[in-house]
Symmetry: C2
Subunit: 107 residues, 2 copies
Amino acid sequence: MAQPTLDAFQVIGDPSRRKMLRLLSKDSLTINSLAENFDMSRPAVSKHIKILYTAGFISIQDIGRERYCTLKQDGFNELQEWISYFDKFWISKLKKLETLLNNKLSK
Amino acid sequence: MAQPTLDAFQVIGDPSRRKMLRLLSKDSLTINSLAENFDMSRPAVSKHIKILYTAGFISIQDIGRERYCTLKQDGFNELQEWISYFDKFWISKLKKLETLLNNKLSK
DNA sequence: AGTATATGTAACTTTTGGATTACGCAAATA
DNA sequence: TATTTGCGTAATCCAAAAGTTACATATACT
C-alpha cells in the first residue's frame, strides 16, 4: 500500500489508523484481533499496521505465527513538538493581550 | 477543492497547510502574500485556506478586496486533546514501570 | 504427514485529494 | 469610466492512497 513512507501527520490523518492506536492504548493486540474491530479486509488492516510500524507508532513482537502490536512513543514525538509550538503561540498571545489590558487600565 | 469537510487531522496532514499555519503564527497575511511563499498557483493556495478556515484553524477578515488570515485556536483543540490522551498513556505507563521496579527492589 | 491458522505480498481497482487553467466579480486606481 | 488588482469558483487532470482478491508461507494442531 505505501512504499513512500508517510510522515507522522499523514499517518494519523487516516481515521482507521487513529482508531487502531486507540485500541492499542488499551491492550497489545495481534493483527487479527485488531482487524475484528474494522469493516475492511484483513490485508487492509495489515497494511495500516505496516504504516504505523514504519512511522514508529507501534512496535511488533512475533510470537509464533502471531504478531503482537504495541504502542511506541517515537511516532508521537513529532506531533507533540508541533502541537507544543502552537501551544506556546497561544499562551504568548494571551500574555500580550493581558499586558496590553494592564497598560490600558493603569493609564 | 474539498466539499467533504476534512477533520482536523486530515487538515494538518498536508505539508503545505502546516507551512501556512507556521507562516500565520508569525503574522496575519492576505491570500496573495501567503501564496508568495509557495510554488503552487494562487487558486491552489486559496483552496487550502478554505480548508483551514472550515476546520477552524484560521479566521478571515475582509478588508476591501483583501482577505487577512489569522490563526484561530479552535482547530488546534481537537489535536491537543488527542495528543494529551496519549501523553497520559505514556506517563501512566512509566508510573507502572516505576512501581513495578520499586516492588522488585523492596523484596 | 495433512490441515488449519496467522500473516505477508502482489496485482489491480477505486476513490480522493491536490493541482492547474479558465473564467467571473468586486474593489481600488488611473 | 476603463483598467488593474485580489480573490473565488468551476471544470478537469493526475497522482497517490486505500481497498479488494488471489496467492504464498510459516507455524500450530490432529
